[in-house]
Symmetry: C2
Subunit: 245 residues, 2 copies
């Protein structure tokens, strides 16, 4: 499985993904699920992927092929598309095309072809935006009412997002919320695993910040998750009791 969370607040965007894939319990591997592209001061785009790995890798490869072709030919790609909405459309089109090529054969072999992507970023002159793209190539956009998307094993990490995230959460707190949401998932589900990939975009900077891999021994991440465990236990101790009878 996978867990990826994308957050869109007024301040900017946060992307966080794990790296574990599994086909059964004895076929566990590590694959990057976050892909970023940036032209400093012009645009910053991130995509996170869950679902059938051959499908999502196919989408990323074709997006990169178009970027390469755009350097010599008149090809539309995610780095020259007019708007972030158009970027989402281009990603959706690749998804739809690959599904059309492979889903029937995959189903004939009893495999699921479904895949979901989170696409977000900002281009010069536009706002920062966040989209979730489905297997059919259709997509939805994050709005102030729901400032985050999750793909993969989303349930364990949802309660904390529902409690602390609003459209007005500062970027540094949104990053913390993503960390805590991921930590809750890692602790409760073996199919989600370290290391993590994180990236954030502060609105209008058109560049990534906090863009790095977080390994299992990352002292900063361990400090956050240990502090959270302790703070949670302390918080728990302050709760009133349920009255007996």
């Amino acid at each position: 499985m996978t867990y990826c969370v994308g957050i869109k607040i007024s301040d900017g965007l946060v992307f966080l993904s794990d790296t574990r894939t599994n086909a059964g319990v004895d076929n566990i591997a590590r694959f990057r699920k976050m892909f970023t592209w940036s032209i400093r001061g012009k645009r910053a785009i991130a995509i996170m992927a869950s679902g059938n790995l051959s499908i999502t890798q196919g989408v990323i490869t074709r997006l990169n092929q178009d970027i390469q072709r755009s350097q010599t030919d008149d090809v539309e790609c995610i780095l020259n598309a007019d708007t972030m909405f158009r970027v989402a459309q281009l990603v959706g089109k690749k998804m739809k095309g690959i599904q059309q090529s492979h889903s029937e054969d995959l189903e004939a072999h009893g495999e699921a072809s479904s895949a979901t992507l989170i696409v977000g970023g900002q281009r010069l002159g536009g706002r920062h935006r966040l989209f979730q793209i489905y297997s059919a190539g259709n997509f939805i956009e994050a709005t102030p009412d729901t400032p985050y998307f999750q793909i993969g094993e989303h349930k364990y990490g949802k309660p904390i997002l529902d409690r602390v995230l609003t459209i007005n959460t500062p970027l540094k707190d949104a990053i913390k919320a993503a960390m805590v949401s991921m930590d809750s998932t890692l602790r409760s589900n073996l199919s989600v695993g370290m290391p993590l990939d994180i990236a954030a975009v502060r609105g209008d900077t058109l560049a990534f910040t906090h863009h790095r891999r977080i390994d299992v021994d990352d002292s900063n991440f361990l400090n956050i998750t240990n502090s959270w465990s302790l703070a949670l236990r302390d918080a728990f101790q302050t709760l009133p009791e349920l009255k007996g009878n």
Copy 2:
């Protein structure tokens, strides 16, 4: 859906269940999913149910029929069984029998017959024990390594249990943990809904405590969940930040 959590710690047992059932989004109803039986000073038993409602109601009805028959005839029932292990066996047998009667027909109509029960309690002379019973009638018992069972929509409420529960958690804190786990689930999943049913057994008292229905306007419950929301947000504020780059 449903969310029920059963906890077995050294101190005793906690049972907490919601009351929402749904067959699609427009067919929502309220059904009790927790059933208790007690003979003060002799035994206290609780069962919680998830899955196909006709199956689980069938199990409870048949268990009650046997209790009634045992008053005049020599019938083994959950109130006279020698051990809690035997109680779990009796419940498992009812489950197996009802599945055999109905599962084929249900499947022919495209319905799932699967159901899961949590059974716990104590009888005079024995320890307090907690079991989870599956559709096939087989069951497992809670041990110090995993002092809780969840059935239904279990993922949202699992992280908090994993963080705060151990076999040595005091009963009052185990009750709070169940409350917080339920609250996280209620907030993130519409298929789980108020009111709640709670019951606890302090080891060797052979009687229920905190045994009541918690309605949507229960001030004690609201106080716990509001305190938890505030404490979580405070805890969140104390976390160190992820370093940028």
